[in-house]
């Protein structure tokens, strides 16, 4: 299979995983890199297309973002919002310590 121009290495996989907030074991990095390289090499056929002066398409339908009144439309539903939380206490989400 063709190699993509920016071949992904096992180290790159560790970096992408960290950015993705995914845990990868060291022994998986090689096969994930191979996987990604296969897909990226296939994607790189896009380099054949002449994109000079082409405006990138960012939305499926051309329309302006609508404006709305800046008012409260919902609220006072704390318990419903907390109902799906893995851990709660006294009406709060309980999360792991983030500052030591």
């Amino acid at each position: 299979m063709a190699e993509p121009k920016n071949g992904v290495s096992a180290d790159d996989v560790r970096k992408i995983a960290r950015l993705s907030r995914l845990h990868v074991e060291d022994e998986q990095c090689g096969s994930i890199a191979e996987d990604l390289n296969g897909i990226l090499a296939w994607i790189e056929q896009l380099d054949e297309v002449d994109c000079e002066d082409v405006v990138p398409m960012t939305s499926a339908v051309a329309m302006d973002a609508p404006m709305r009144q800046d008012t409260v439309t919902s609220g006072n539903i704390r318990d419903r919002i907390l109902a799906n939380a893995p851990k709660t206490e006294d009406g709060f989400f309980v999360v792991p310590r983030s500052v030591e």
Partner: protein
Amino acid sequence: MTDLTKLTLASALDGMKAREFSSMELTDAHIGACEAASGLNAFITPTFDLARDQAKASDERRVSGTIGKLEGAPLGMKDLFCTEGVRTTAASKILGDFTPPYESTVSANMKADGMVMLGKLNLDQFAMGSANETSCFGPVINPWRNGEDLVPGGSSGGSAAAVAADLCLGATATDTGGSIRQPAGFTGTVGIKPTYGRCSRYGIVAFASSLDQAGPIAKTVEDAAILLESMAGYDPKDSTSINEPVPDWRGAVGQSVKGLRVGVPREYTMDGIPKEIDAVWAEGVEWMREAGAEIVDVSLPHTKYALPVYYVVAPAEASSNLARYDGMRYGLRVEGENLADTYERTRTEGFGDEVRRRVMIGTYVLSAGYYDAYYLRAQKVRTKIADDFRQAWESCDVLLTPTAPSAAFPVGRKINDPIQMYLNDVFTVTANLAGLPGISVPAALDGNGLPLGLQIIGRALDESTVFKAAGALEKAAGFDAKPDKWWS
């Protein structure tokens, strides 16, 4: 009494109106069919008690004279639509027990129109897949078989299987790259993805926001029109919702296609596509010609780039959308050594292989140093693909293409190369990239007795013409085959 599960949605609505049977009788018949079809694994969460309550309420409403568009009809809901008080999983472990405190706009519209909800239907995890095999609740089995278990397509595989097996009168589905139309093609059902922005995305678990669109899977083109009229409509809660009235699509079905210009895109003839697919396509062209349409040869020169564009844009948007699953406010949490480790372990355990793969590709193509080379370039080629369609509309009114490059394939088929699976969407993904409506209509059985679909693509917001053309195609095809019941 006749078997009420064999009815179309249109005839079931008529039957209730004429008081030939009640919603409760209709609902009970469908619950019976569902209970006798657990082998298909079409449902993740059946809601039969809720369905009976809704049917009872519907029958009472009918007595008092208030009748909605879907009054009393037992339907299925893809488990990607948030339903208040009913578990919504996206077929993922990370949302395994999530019970939304709110309702998606599409399902709310259908409830307001009198829907009876039979349950939440299985799908590919986060709608990422083309075979319904990435669901963490196990694969859905196609009611159509060929000596072995076949996939129903994906991602809306539960919706397609349930409709094909007469477990419900119709079902909701969603389509990001072909997830309504390809399973419809694999199961001999009708599926339409409307113009981007027709159906509100509010309350639909997000995959790729610039591509995701809801639509129905149904037994007939007319049924699809009835369902879409209920599902669609402007919603201020979705900033990309189009503020246009919903036309009388049901009325468009059955209209003459005399003089309609049907484009046949030459780039959709591809190497490696089975001859039978091309033959059915050629037959479809003849049917449209005989019905009075004018056949036009058109070119969509950037077709071959659509899938690579999709596999940049969709993972990029997915990696951003799925960043919300952090194990803090809802869903699964796997405790780690510290906060970052908790995030990573939660997401690694909560997401399946294909979802993790796409999140990583998306993260990579959006990362510093690669954004221009991959993401920006893909967005530019997306512009070229949309321009191809704009050009085509100068010489034709709709396009006629095959729906998928194969018939349904065996469950568990070993696929080492993910690109092979991605090719399932080769004919459907262009309509998502350009935001256009596309419908799949069952056309014929292949040599193995499996259904093949044809697709009609139309101009943005011109579902009326799409329904008109699809109705003509359906009539000419005369497809009335049903799978022999083998499941239990």
